[in-house]
Structures are given as structure tokens and as C-alpha cells.
């Protein structure tokens, strides 16, 4: 065959091969080159490359020791990586997010990873993800998602990233990461293999699995963890699933959400940041403000019922653009612990859900509304 005339498919395969070859020697020096190539390929396939999001100037950045100082962190979530050599699109997307975050100036205080780094919880997928995330310049905090967990019940994830439940203090704010994707055993009675269990959980619309929950042991841990903090300590909680009940059939849901909310009720300022839903999603229940994170891999449609009033849906994504509706983002934390939540959509203008919007129950600082709603 004349190599001058290659089919689109052949060209794609060659591009994918060379991308994967580049990943084999991924280190700090070659990282920029590989990720630039990833961006280049995205641009070549008709994707409009948008500039990295503008940095937000934060007052008092250098007085880190002072209590209740505003700060900013960035997030990446739901990359759903397969092992190398299978799916280059999801890998390119995560590289793009890392590139976005690394080019922030000034750098965020830390980067939060929102779970579902892997698609099927395989060691090769998690290793691959860890290898890419190693390139993040700022300190990184990890959260687990159901796709990371249900092949080996978190064994590999814990080996790579440590405990899934932990807390820390940062500039006067108390931050907590939970594992909210605990499912009741549906697999033993059915005699499922670990991979069958994983595949079941990996299907968003698979009705065989159980609802997500935080579970009794973690709820107890949370109570103890918060016991020494006064009511005016700002609290930020990270959970993979939304810590409320939105749509059970897709596990946009936490079964014991009310119990967790009750524990958080006494605090004046509580923000919950969650993954799993792959979309702009906003809610407020009493004192608790909820914000979703974008996925780097693909956007989910909105739930067909039960949408929270404060949610302004994002325009229905363009199926012809693999990056549309995907992205990363950042969170500006104010001294009182409330936040501006920035959705850095790769193919669109970024959208900010401001603290003012949340405080005013949606009457002030309203972000632009969609003209193409989800079906």
C-alpha cells in the first residue's frame, strides 16, 4: 500500500501509538512535550483550544500562618483512565487538566483530585493515573471514587494514595475527605467475580448495585473528627457522590446523606465539593452549599427529575467535540470559608458559581442560563 495515502483510521492509530510511546518516558522534562502534543492533537481534531483560566489574585497569599486567610485551590476529577494502550482520549484529557493547573500563576495552594481516576479499578489504570498526577506541581490531595474501588475493594488505591478518609487544617479552614461510595454487598449472593462486581458498579444506569453511602464507621469518625472544632470554624467536605439525594437510579445520591448533614448542621459555614456527576451542579440545604466538579473524560446528562433549584444547567454538550462539557476548575475560599466555585469548561467560557449567588439563594450573581437544555 502506498504510505502516502493513509486512511483516517490509520492516521488515528499512528497518532495514538506515538502518544502512548511518548508516555513511556514521561518525566518532568518530557512532560511538557507530551502534554503539548496531546493539546496539539486536540486542536488538530477541530477542538478550539481555550486559554488556561485566568489566575485570581488573592489577598494575603504570603501570610500562610495567619488564621482565616483566603486561599485558592484547583481541582481535577473523574478521568476514568483505562490502562495504557486502550484509550488515548481519556489520557490526553487528564494531561490537559494537569497542564491547565500547572500553568496557573500564582499556583493554587493545593490540587484536589475528585475520584474515579481509573475506569475499572485495575492496578495498571491506577498506576497510569498516579504517573500522570505526579507531574502536578502543587501538593495533591486524593479522593476515591467507585471506579477506583470495586475491583479489589480499594487495595491498590490505598497502596498508592493512602487512607481514603482524612482531614486537615488549612489557613483556618477544616477540610475533610470522605469515601462516600460505600455500597452494601450485592455481589456475594450473586456469586460475582471481582471484575463482574466492578463492571456492575461502573455502569451508571446499572440497577443491580446498591446505593452509595458514607456508612456508620465513617459517620462516627466524622463526629469525632469534628468534636474539637467550634461552630464558627469553616468546614469544607469532599465527597465523590453528592452528599444529598438527587437521583437514585444513577447514584447521584448518598443514602445516609441526612445523617452526615445533621453532623455538619451546627457549623456556620459548610461547603461540600463532590465529583461523580460530571456537570455543573449546585445545591444548598440550610447552611450547606454543594458544588459538583467537572469530569475530564465525558459529561453526564442531567438527571430527569429532582434537580435542585439553585442548579443552572450547562448547555447540552456537543457530541462532535470530545472535550465539550469537560474540564477542570478552581475554588476560591474566602476568609469566612464560603467559596466561589469556578468551572473551567474546555470548550466554552468558564462559569463561576459565586458565594453571593449561594448566600442570596440564587437572586444575586446569577450565571448565564443555557439555551440547549439536557434531554
Amino acid at each position: 500500500m502506498n504510505p502516502k495515502y493513509k486512511s483516517i483510521e490509520t492516521k488515528y492509530r499512528e497518532q495514538r501509538e506515538s502518544f502512548f510511546r511518548g508516555l513511556n518516558n514521561l518525566d518532568r522534562r518530557s512532560f511538557l512535550k507530551v502534554s503539548a502534543a496531546a493539546m496539539g492533537a486536540a486542536a488538530a481534531s477541530g477542538v478550539v483550544s481555550c486559554p488556561s483560566f485566568q489566575s485570581v489574585t488573592v489577598a494575603g497569599q504570603d501570610s500562610a500562618s495567619q488564621r482565616n486567610t483566603p486561599f485558592r485551590f484547583a481541582y481535577i476529577s473523574d478521568s476514568h483512565l483505562y490502562e495504557k494502550k486502550i484509550n488515548d482520549r481519556f489520557a490526553r484529557a487528564l494531561l490537559r487538566a494537569v497542564e491547565d493547573i500547572n500553568s496557573l500563576d500564582p499556583q493554587p495552594d493545593f490540587v484536589f483530585y475528585g475520584g474515579d481516576l481509573a475506569q475499572l479499578g485495575q492496578a495498571s489504570e491506577l498506576d497510569f493515573g498516579a504517573q500522570i498526577l505526579k507531574e502536578v506541581k502543587a501538593p495533591i490531595k486524593m479522593m476515591v471514587g467507585e471506579h477506583d474501588w470495586y475491583l479489589d475493594m480499594g487495595e491498590k488505591w490505598r497502596e498508592l494514595f493512602g487512607k481514603p478518609t482524612y482531614s486537615w487544617d488549612h489557613k483556618g479552614v477544616h477540610l475533610i475527605t470522605l469515601n462516600s461510595v460505600v455500597e452494601e454487598d450485592f455481589w456475594t449472593a450473586r456469586g460475582m467475580s471481582s471484575m463482574e462486581r466492578m463492571m456492575t458498579v461502573a455502569g451508571l444506569d446499572n440497577g443491580v448495585q446498591s446505593p452509595f453511602s458514607v456508612g456508620e464507621p465513617q459517620r462516627e469518625w466524622l463526629k469525632n473528627d469534628l468534636a474539637d472544632y467550634s461552630d464558627d470554624t469553616p468546614i469544607i467536605v469532599f465527597s465523590h457522590s453528592p452528599l444529598y439525594k438527587l437521583y437514585k437510579k444513577w447514584n447521584f445520591w448518598t443514602d445516609d446523606a441526612e445523617d452526615v448533614q445533621a453532623t455538619l448542621k451546627r457549623f456556620k459555614s459548610v461547603v461540600v465539593i463532590h465529583g461523580h456527576t460530571h456537570q455543573l451542579l449546585t445545591n444548598r440545604i440550610g447552611n450547606i452549599h454543594f458544588h459538583g466538579m467537572l469530569s475530564t473524560a465525558w459529561p453526564w446528562p442531567y438527571a430527569p427529575e429532582g434537580m435542585p433549584e439553585l442548579t443552572i444547567e450547562m448547555n447540552r454538550p456537543d457530541p462532535f467535540n470530545p472535550n465539550d462539557g469537560c474540564g477542570d476548575g478552581e475554588v476560591q475560599v474566602y476568609a469566612d470559608g464560603l467559596v466561589d466555585k469556578v468551572y473551567n469548561l474546555w470548550n466554552r467560557k468558564q462559569i463561576t458559581l459565586s458565594k453571593a449567588y449561594m448566600i442570596s439563594w440564587g437572586s444575586k450573581g446569577v450565571p448565564p442560563r443555557p439555551n440547549r437544555p439536557s434531554y
Binding site: 486502550i86 484509550n87 482520549r89 456492575t200 455502569g203 444506569d205 443491580v208 457530541p319
Partner: protein, 215 residues
């Protein structure tokens, strides 16, 4: 696609039972006898003095062991919730049915229509949810962007698809998705898998008014 339906299999196994019974009757000196089922692949041990029903049951049980996914329709429905087909039981009522052949379906007819229609759609659900059945080279299946076939809006076709610059049908978009994000095997418009996918997507939007041309 499964070419032999479960109903056909049941009939087949019952026929086997009759064959086996005759075989056992000939072998009177043993307590148990091994019989080969009529498909030439399955083997079962049957009691020498088994009655016809017992024999049929044991052969059916053996066939089920040999075919663990025989209940694939029920299994798939449990995994992925499906909107049921329309209820046609009202057709059993009405005074004009006598003397009007098309106008007098039986309960059995109605059961058959429902089951066969649902099976067609369930096959679509199976393919929709499987990167393997779609032949994806990047391990992507339809449900990864369209849980319960949401955001597929079959009721809006035909419409002008801006990105393609022409008017398309739902089938064209299924085709586009299989070729692009799924990177799966090419399906002709009349391929059984394409027909099943189309059936599943349309079935999931049951009750939505048709609204062609809507963006």
C-alpha cells in the same frame, strides 16, 4: 443476536425428553442412564424409572446449567431498567371482534407481542451497554454518555445536524457515535445490531411527543 429463542429451546428440550425416555426404556438393567440431548452436545444422567415429567425437568435443568445466560432477557432487564412496551390488553374487549379476524387477538397473542417486542429492545440494551458487542477499540460504550439512553432524543429526528451540514435520522447519529467516540465496528443501516440499538433508544423515550427538527 441470539438466533434461537428460549421458547424454541423449551420445545426442543421437550422433544429431547421424549427421545431420552425411549432411550431409558430400552436400558432396563441400570439405575441411571446417560443420555445425549438432541442437540448432540448436552449430556444428562437420568433415573431409569423416571416419569416423563421428571425426565423433562432433569433435562431442562441440565440445559439451564449448560446455558447460564438462558434468562438473558430477565437478566438484562434487572441490570438496566427498561420502559415496558405498550399494554394492549384493551384489545380483548369490545363487541365487534366476532367476525373480524384482525380484531380478535387472544391473550396469548398479546403476551407474544409484548414478549417479542421487549426481547428485541432488550437486545438493543445489551449492545448499548457493551463496548465488546459494539466492537469498540477504545472500550467505550453508549451508556458511558447516555445512561438509560438519556440525551439521545430520538423524537427530534429527522433534523438538520449542524455539524454534518445535512438532515439526519437517529440511525445516522448512532452510526456517527459508533464510528467516532466508540471507534467500534462499522454497522450497515439494516444490521441487526443497528436495528436493536435504534429499538432500545426509541423504547426508552416512550411517551415523549414526536417533535422532528427540534434542536
Amino acid at each position: 443476536m441470539r438466533k434461537i429463542s428460549t421458547v424454541a429451546h423449551v420445545r426442543f428440550v421437550m422433544l429431547c425428553a421424549v427421545c431420552a425416555l425411549m432411550a431409558v426404556m430400552l436400558m432396563s438393567c441400570r439405575d441411571e442412564a446417560e443420555v445425549t440431548t438432541c442437540d448432540g452436545t448436552g449430556k444428562a444422567m437420568v433415573a431409569e424409572d423416571a416419569t416423563g415429567q421428571e425426565l423433562a425437568d432433569s433435562l431442562m435443568a441440565q440445559w439451564k446449567r449448560d446455558h447460564p445466560d438462558a434468562d438473558w432477557v430477565e437478566q438484562e432487564k434487572e441490570r438496566h431498567e427498561l420502559k415496558p412496551p405498550a399494554d394492549n390488553s384493551a384489545l380483548l374487549k369490545g363487541g365487534q371482534s366476532e367476525g373480524h379476524i384482525y380484531g380478535q387477538p387472544t391473550e396469548r397473542d398479546i403476551l407474544l407481542w409484548g414478549r417479542e417486542t421487549e426481547k428485541f429492545v432488550v437486545e438493543g440494551s445489551r449492545i448499548f451497554h457493551s463496548a465488546d458487542l459494539l466492537g469498540s477499540t477504545v472500550a467505550v460504550s453508549c451508556d458511558m454518555c447516555h445512561p438509560h439512553a438519556s440525551n439521545t432524543h430520538p423524537e427530534t429526528y429527522p433534523k438538520f445536524q449542524t455539524q454534518l451540514g445535512r438532515v439526519v435520522l437517529l440511525r445516522d447519529m448512532i452510526h456517527w457515535c459508533i464510528e467516532q467516540p466508540v471507534r467500534g465496528k462499522h454497522l450497515e443501516p439494516d444490521d441487526p445490531a443497528m436495528r436493536a440499538l435504534e429499538a432500545y433508544i426509541m423504547a426508552q423515550r416512550s411517551g415523549t411527543p414526536m417533535n422532528y427538527g427540534k434542536h
